[in-house]
Symmetry: C4
Subunit: 224 residues, 4 copies
């Protein structure tokens, strides 16, 4: 109990700074990758910021491990967090939680439906994931002589067609590292997209069922 409350207090305090750090990491990584024409000092600064924020994530992970008092089981039970320490580009996915917390505290606002929130969460997560993957695939691919991904636009287009499982194949990674990132994107992204599709389907079903009831009671016009 005590451990739990200390963890909760840590999360309350560290939430906003870590959220800011995540966005900083993403921005500095993006500038570093996309800004090839920028002067060297700016690019070095970006690298420094990226490493500094990464070390913050490691500190946060260590503190939470320590507070939990769980030993090795912590790694097993917080698998997502452990992966995020190794792949900090996935970190911004957690920003979604901040939006979620902010929205819950708005007084007087009607709560979104359960499915609506799952869709929002999974949709935002997969967008962030797609953007981060497009960045790193572009980073590893665009200088390869056989690459088909030559601009960041190509890379975004590739990420969208991969996340939706359409997979045209007009542009696709050819380097081993690019393909490794692509496999991670497939694994995480498809699960998230499956969640979006599943909740949309169940939301639509519920809405039709509700409209049936309303029509049966009042015979009124179809709701908006």
């Amino acid at each position: 109990m005590d451990d739990d409350s200390r963890t909760a207090r840590w999360e309350l305090r560290a939430g906003v700074p870590l959220g800011v750090a995540s966005l900083l990491f993403l921005v500095s990584y993006a500038v570093r990758v996309l800004g090839e024409g920028l002067p060297q000092p700016v690019r070095d600064l970006c690298l420094a910021v990226a490493y500094a924020t990464w070390s913050l994530f490691v500190v946060d992970y260590a503190v939470r491990w320590r507070l939990s008092g769980q030993g090795l089981r912590f790694v097993h039970r917080h698998l997502l967090d452990s992966v995020v320490v190794l792949l900090p580009l996935l970190r911004p996915v957690r920003v979604v939680r901040v939006y979620d917390a902010w929205q819950r505290r708005m007084p007087g606002q009607p709560q979104m439906s359960l499915q609506g929130r799952v869709m929002l969460y999974a949709g935002l997560s997969s967008t962030l994931l797609g953007f981060a993957s497009a960045l790193s695939v572009y980073h590893y691919e665009h200088r390869d002589p056989h690459a088909t991904i030559r601009t960041f636009g190509d890379s975004l287009w590739w990420a969208a067609s991969t996340l939706s499982t359409v997979g045209y194949g007009d542009v696709a990674p050819v380097t081993p590292l690019g393909r490794l990132i692509a496999v991670v994107l497939m694994g995480c992204g498809l699960a998230l997209l499956g969640a979006v599709t599943g909740s949309f389907s169940s939301w639509l079903m519920q809405r039709f069922a509700l409209r049936d009831d309303a029509a049966g009671d009042a015979g009124g016009p179809p709701g908006s």
Copy 2:
């Protein structure tokens, strides 16, 4: 309550004219895009009709916003309607609702099953969406020197292979605008198709369960 009833009355009155306007918009846009050999006055007329119907959608949106008395929250809570004002090609999707209302009022007709209606709604919506996307992708692509989408037939074929997530990639958009429309199509279309698949699966399951009961009771022949 008062606001609600005024909104309901507006929707009752504006429903049919707006449905007609949606179809007019789609037809005039289609003629404008596909009828490159038509005389200029006809093409200008189409453009005029398209803008006129678009302005109708804006007026409808404004009236409903005003009647709701909700301020900025209205944009948030009627997100689909807000998007439709910006992308009027998605408007015909709402026509499905007219068919739905018409079918509900037919006396003596047995109600379709819940899943049947979801499948119908989502199926029709995605067909309209695919057609509208094929139109605008064709519009932006067919004059590009590297385009693989050269005829409207290619564009329809591309839309079908995208909506079903098959994605052969033999034809695919290459211009930035074409790709942007493709991403919107993936986003909306896959959700709709997911709804079709989900309801079909649940309908099949229900039907098999029903047949089991019937067979258990009467040992009769399998129903049609």
Copy 3:
């Protein structure tokens, strides 16, 4: 009631002959399409058999319409049957029903689970659908100068990659008719595959839940 029982009697009597006719149609169509080197009389015979069996389907449809006494609503309510009359290649899908009826009547055999039967039904249907589509796509494609589908093996490979929505695109139809058939395959096939996936997922979930209970009660070894 009387109409229903007459329809049921008709289905009981006509079931087996029509099932045989469906298979005859498929076989004769396959021989006609694939046997280009066969002597002309054999090919003419196949065409005759195909037309004869097709006319049987039309007769069956007409009789059932007549017996139902429903007028135009019959077309609406037996949509699948109506489509099958126009596209007799989809007819063999109904053969699955014969297997289903046969299995139900086997005494002493434990009933398959609901999900198992949905998977069997949808799996067999999509296999038949894929085979029939591969046949007709091959028929329309293989003589086109730009065709990538040149052998029946290519066509089967294309059908498998389409039904699974993988869509490599190394072979794909290029003629308008071939693409039309492909769109029908996407529409029907994806729904069927969605049903397979959905029932497999729910079957797996149920099985794990059962094993939990068993383990909780007896602490026994995991079941086979």
Copy 4:
């Protein structure tokens, strides 16, 4: 009852040796396929080990058939096991069960959620399936003059893009045997992936619902 308990005892005793044999089979097959530069005796040894372990699987199948006392129905009711005897590369999929049994017996560990275990099971199974398919597709493809799959890396990349149904098509099997294996991979893999997606979606939904309750009760910070 007696048959059941004898089968259970057999499975208890044979479980670990057969699990080891499965891994041995996979490793020896992998060395045989990938180690083209190895000295001939090593490659012959691998072939011998592969055949020896395969014969073990046949013995296990025969013993369980005999113990069940079910005659031909056994083949029908243990369809998966029957297939595994013919395609021993699918055998390692059963290793997942060992992990499952090991995890259940750990005292003091909180049980994973139902969806978590389905995801783990289906995820591990599809990884093993993908690896095994990549091995045999590489085996049949890499010497073909028109092959696009030329290295084992290509083959793994192809397997990942097939299992996720993305299907870029930049590399794809061209030999009949390679395509046959690909169709089996599509069939098995998509079902497994469907299970992963379905359970992830339901797990996410449940988690959001739980968090709602917690927030409603205590107004606390969002859980980790």
